[in-house]
Subunit: 267 residues, 2 copies
């Protein structure tokens, strides 16, 4: 089970922040991939369920069912302390919180003036407009709350992953501040984007998430899978959709978070 508790988990137990490394962050990001793939497969259990996304369906201030559900759920999550953890960001932070739990001392790793970088709205729009139609088949089975709850799990997994860019940027900056200083002073996003880009790492990640979609989305039976190029394998979610999600959205948005974080790293 050790791999599950790499990354920030261990960091929290440590007495100082000096154990945060790019490798420990990558371990956590790799682990988060599993849960992103799981959550997409879970959402694909339900058909699209159009009424859940129709702003007029509930007759509630133009909130769709999914938005109303997410708002109510996040308010409860806040009461139970979820957003005390700087890794977690709500999509609708304008809830009225009635905190039930005592504060927990999470490690404060981020540089405060830069920590509020947030692309939640972009993730929300990308998920509902681009991704969801690719993973849910057409249809309406009445399980609107279940579909909305699965949507929220996907959204939270993606948001956590993408906003990890803040931690990655912080560690990169601490390792070699001199690499970034002039570009930060010049507010030069283009150079910063180049500095946080590693094409080989990006290619490894998109290939690996594709493989994860194949492994986790296969139909597991006790019979040995036939390996003779018989192209009938059906996956629960198309693996190329998952690698495109990473290549076109997750990685670029993570880099956008990194760059925006760095731009405020000397504020």
């Amino acid at each position: 089970m050790s791999i599950m508790h790499q990354g920030l988990m261990n960091i929290r137990y440590s007495k100082s922040d000096s154990f945060i490394t790019i490798d420990s962050l990558r371990g956590s990001l790799e682990d988060q991939e599993n849960f992103i793939v799981f959550s997409l497969i879970e959402r694909a259990r339900y058909p699209y369920n159009y009424p859940a996304y129709d702003p007029s369906y509930l007759g509630l201030k133009n909130y769709s069912l999914v938005e109303a559900f997410v708002r109510d759920t996040e308010a409860i999550e806040a009461n139970f302390g979820r957003y005390q953890n700087p890794e977690e960001l709500p999509f609708f932070p304008d809830y009225k919180a009635f905190p039930l739990v005592p504060p927990f001392k999470f490690s404060q790793i981020l540089y405060p003036p830069a920590s509020s970088i947030n692309v939640s709205r972009t993730i929300w729009d990308m998920y509902f407009n681009k991704l969801l139609p690719l993973i849910a088949i057409e249809g309406d089975d009445g399980n609107y709350q279940q579909a909305a709850a699965s949507d929220l799990i996907c959204l939270q997994a993606l948001s956590k992953r993408i906003h990890y860019g803040r931690f990655v940027a912080e560690v990169k900056f601490r390792n070699t501040p001199s690499d970034y200083l002039s570009a930060i002073h010049a507010k030069d996003s283009e150079t910063l984007t180049r500095l946080v880009t590693s094409k080989t790492v990006e290619e490894t990640v998109t290939e690996r998430v594709k493989k994860k979609a194949e492994v986790f989305g296969q139909n597991v039976t006790l019979r040995e899978a036939s390996k003779d190029g018989n192209e009938t394998t059906k996956y629960k979610v198309d693996p190329s959709v998952v690698s495109n999600l990473y290549g076109e959205w997750v990685i670029p948005l993570t880099k956008q978070v990194e760059v925006n974080y760095l731009l405020h790293r000397l504020d």
Copy 2:
């Protein structure tokens, strides 16, 4: 994606209940296994987090954080229609519901006097007392809400699976009512248990879930896994814990649901 929409999904689209077969129910049960395994792996991301289970931690009417969180969450789920679907059962049905969604016409397959069979309390106790300590490592990382939310997902997946026994029993009864009549009239649970038992099916299921825990809980990398008997493979959740969960709890409780359902099938 076809396997994902087997089972009751398709049944709902059908004009009559005549398409429900043991095979279509088994397809759904097989699919549910994936999500049970996923949800256990997800819970194993967090350490045990003792304060979430300490009834005195919140100072709330002796509710532990997890119980308070589940109660609040189920009330919201009810508002958004989750429990209209006869496949879904809340753990704490005494919520005050303020339904926001119009009724949806779910197929009513179950025989009403038998449909209220419920082993939720047993599932709750089994999960927290037996299962959770086997999948979560010791520790406290402050992510209590996240752990509680993962617990609820595990509980709901297990409850849905186990209470599917009601659908299985209904279909078995409809197929050959004469097999069951005398035992039902005699309230003979022992004979009914024998009638709903298939050792070969049970062995297949426990073996298959073990394999699923191996497949879904492996560390997927782009390197080929070494197949040379090198016993260093670490799984996110111990596969034998998952097969024992099925052998000792899920299957026996499902049969208990089937038998109790049948006992009320002629009320």
